[in-house]
Amino acid sequence: MKCNKAIKELSAYLDGELDAELRQTLEAHLTYCNHCHAVYDTTKKTIELYCDGKLFSLPEDVRARLHDALRRKLQECK
């Protein structure tokens, strides 16, 4: 397997969408090719960083204004 082919399949591999044969070929390539392994590894880390639940947390004042707005809306609807 060549590097550009490996990179092309990486996303589907991360999503578990490759058939068994292609997956094995790709995994073999990732074992021996430093470059593609680094791309694979840092792509996974990229996703993990964005998933970090501590980031972009909802500020308490923003939450309070949301619930105020909802209550006002409810009053209008009554």
Binding site: S11, T46, L49, F56, V62, R63, L66, L70
Partner: protein, 203 residues
């Protein structure tokens, strides 16, 4: 028979929805409590600023409340609210576009070759090396370098955990287009972050 927590939660949710539809405000508020954090983060991620994210959050839940009678329970409540929120967020971006020309879609087509430039491993644990505010800024700058149509696919799939099909439905895209965009978005974000996190980069 013992229920799995997910089944119990889903049942509980459909109960909350019928209560809310019947005019029980507390039930609706409980639904808001469940998803407000995620919707705020989604707004931050797509619009890239706090003010717009707050508007998206409010508009999404006010509209959900207003249109609750039209919600049909053959789809997940969360996916439904996400769709409303994404529409609000993209509308914000379109309005802002007049001042600073931001293409909604990439000029490059979805099928072309992706050129990968950064092959270095990263320094370990960037989430511990950088202060939270700094890390948020880095992630947001990287995300803002992508066309909104691409970063939205990334957020819905990889952060919010929607399936490919759900993402396609929310964005009115084909399943193939979602996969192609996800692939590009992941690699481009990785490349942007590599410039900062790679071993040997001065930080």
């Amino acid at each position: 028979m013992a229920q799995t927590p997910q089944v119990a939660l889903a049942r509980d949710e459909s109960h909350l929805i019928s209560e809310a539809k019947a005019g029980n405000y507390a039930a609706f508020e409980e639904l808001v409590n469940r998803y407000e954090k995620k919707i705020y983060r989604l707004g931050m991620n797509i619009t890239g600023n706090r003010e717009d994210a707050e508007d998206v959050l409010q508009e999404a839940f006010l509209k959900a409340f207003e249109h609750l009678p039209e919600f049909r329970e053959d789809s997940r409540f969360y996916t439904w609210v996400v769709r409303i929120a994404v529409n609000e967020a993209l509308m914000k971006l379109r309005k802002r576009r007049s001042s600073r020309e931001v293409p909604m879609e990439s000029q490059e087509d979805d099928s072309g070759e992706v050129v990968v430039r950064e092959f270095a491993d990263w320094k370990p644990n960037p989430e511990q090396v950088f202060a939270q505010v700094e890390l948020e800024r880095i992630l947001q700058t990287a995300a803002n370098s992508l066309p909104p149509g691409f970063r939205t696919v990334f957020y819905l799939r990889d952060v919010e955990g929607l399936s490919t099909e759900e993402t396609a439905e929310v964005l009115n895209l084909s399943v193939g287009a979602v996969k192609a965009r996800l692939f590009r978005a992941r690699l481009r974000l990785r490349e942007e972050l590599s410039k900062i996190f790679k071993r040997g980069a001065n930080s």
